[in-house]
Symmetry: D2
Subunit: 240 residues, 4 copies
């Protein structure tokens, strides 16, 4: 890999990976100006949020930080979307973030979400994971166009991820979901990609070392001007 | 086109297009810190350089500005490459830029060119044109990988641009040339794309409104986080 | 003067000074993201606004630009303050700027003005003049503390500028006015200081070459990290 | 204190203060581009460097970080200056930083030091302490002009710090020393001020809450556009 391609950090364990990512995120928060962070829900960031929540809670000097979600999967017959629910549970509630500092993308506001973010000076950093199928945010194989800003994706059997989504969500499967697109993500000032575990090793190799290819949406991330990748040894095990 | 996709400026004439681009470039130069500009040679910027050279010449307050080329086509049996020759003729010599402020990429230094640029704080802006075949810099259809940083391209009959190049350069056709790649260009802080004339209308439509596609290398530019496009009406005539 | 102290541009005439400043301001506007500009009213920028208004009017590609005033002198028995009135007359009305893109500081909002600006990502540039008494914005000799953010100044006979203000405004003289303070101004990303005419020569020398001194409020501007000074030859005539 | 004045962090102990500062510094290092850090020697940062050195040592992904000193006190009859000696002992040697990434200001290069820093894109962050007499870097009460870039200070009995310096250094007392000046420091992108202990409480109050005054050089730091102050409770004990 070329020297300027990305900043690649390989830690010996998931715990170490999480510690390094936590330091980077805290470093972003510590600024004497408004800071806009976009954060991910899921398994990979669990230990980050466990460490981060007590560091952030009741800290008036972090009232400069605002939080933005980057996708939303509405759930049939439920009021709160999947991403919002997980972000609240994993971080926002334990960290005591006030509602005025929390911003969710949704089917109702997705068409103006890029503008809303631009109007506050842009996103300073985004923490993202990567799926074993190569997706990032809601940019899934088969339904991703690199030129998209925030957009809506129809849930349809023609897509390779359809079965898996229906499997996971059952009757709660929505007709569509929303996500920030690759063009939105290229405008984030700093991208932090985390991945851990053996089941991520193959896709990490493809995404970081393979060609830019819409069938592996995360392969576009290599083009981001400031990308820090933090992996555990297992996720990094197939890198050359 | 989406509101945040790019800043699209359509001027009524080539002359107006050049005036607006000149103002933008002067605006970049006027900073109380080192400014690194990458500039293009060719037909499109001719009027820009005619206006710019006298504005820059002998201005000690612009000693903060450094100039970088972004590609080089060495010419057989000649000492000076095509880009260097044109940039000197069109701008650097009439503007009286001292050698210490001029930096050329070449087959000798291309492997460290991205690092050299990073070591001076990155490029603040790059002025680029677009070819009727969709190329930008030396990123040609058929030989471009979006993930490339500065790289060398072999001149070979298998590429769609081969005949045209041989036609233009005859016995001076080199075995290879060098160019900053798409990944290099994504790191430039502000990208200024100019195009004029009817013969550019079709490719401008494809590049700005079509899908991101390596066969149209300039289609990737839409993903740049700060892109200003300045066209005359003819070049813009097919935009929806 | 040291090489990195500021970018100092001396033009042969008021007309040339205005042309260069106009280019710099247009350069700031040309960005594919929201741009927040703070602009000054008065005599010095007259020719800038004459050139700028037609360049800006009806240009949809400049809908990214927002305008902010930096001080306000309310006028007794009048609804519109002096700065607002002048900015509208000199630039905002002729340029056709929509109300949604215009932001005025006033006695009603000055206490939250710095926060309002921070919430949109800060000011990208500010165009300021300088008074023969050394003031900038409403930071007057005798009433300026360098550590001030946006603040209110009581109009009182103890200040050296009192007589002159009463002379100018007569019965319209207010009890107080508001201004962004030196600490606010240090946070603007690029400061553009213009001055022309012989009557500015002495203060330009003091402000740019003399010690930082609260009795000459503009002497603090030398500490700004990105300061471009554009003078005509008369205003620059006493510089060493 | 106003909301936008600075980011003020008060930790319960020196240990916690050091942990938070370490996270901020690591956060600065984690960027996919060259990072230029200026760091301080002395007692306050001891625990920071103890934590930082093992985090940095042998980490190839931190080869993007360069280190800059901000002052130097040459020692009579010694080859290595006081700051260089301490920085090597406290951090650079234990962290295994290669010589090519270490940059010291000295009597030999101080006149071009600001230019050298500008040529690499500026300083991304600077970690500084504060003296009980209000000094920061080598900007001492009585010998500091706010408008100074990097400069040389003559060691002379007329200065209030003379006795203390001679007391400390005895026969090694130099005739002069060099330091980056307030104007240099205003150009650093992020300033991190640390202080701990009761003996710093009075000066912290003066510097952060009092007027900008050259007799308390650190009082100018309030004007920096991005200042994070990290204190232990003792150092913060007199803040209102």
């Amino acid at each position: 890999m070329g020297g300027t391609n990305m900043q690649l950090i390989i830690e010996e364990s998931y715990k170490k990976m999480s510690e390094t990512a936590t330091k980077l995120i805290v470093g972003k928060m510590l600024n004497d100006r408004r800071v806009n962070l976009s954060i991910t829900a899921g398994n990979s960031p669990k230990k980050i949020y466990e460490a981060l929540a007590p560091l952030v809670k009741n800290k008036s000097y972090l009232s400069n930080v605002h939080y933005y979600s980057f996708d939303e999967v509405p759930l049939k017959n439920e009021v709160v979307g999947m991403t919002e629910g997980l972000l609240r549970e994993q971080f926002l509630t334990p960290a005591g973030i006030p509602e005025s500092h929390v911003h969710f993308v949704s089917p109702a506001n997705y068409q103006s979400y890029d503008e809303e973010i631009e109007a506050v000076g842009g996103l300073d950093a985004m923490l993202i994971g990567i799926g074993a199928d190569g997706h990032f945010c809601g940019n899934m194989p088969g339904s991703t166009k690199f030129e998209n800003f925030t957009y809506q994706v129809t849930v349809a059997p023609k897509y390779p991820w359809y079965k898996s989504l229906v499997n996971d969500l059952g009757e709660r499967t929505p007709d569509s979901f929303v996500t920030m697109g690759p063009a939105s993500i290229m405008r984030v000032k700093h991208l932090i990609l985390i991945a851990n575990g053996k089941h991520k090793a193959a896709i990490i190799k493809k995404a970081l070392e393979g060609p830019v290819d819409p069938n592996i949406p995360s392969s576009i991330l290599k083009l981001h001007p400031n990308l820090t990748v933090i992996l555990d040894q297992e996720a990094a095990s197939q890198l050359s």
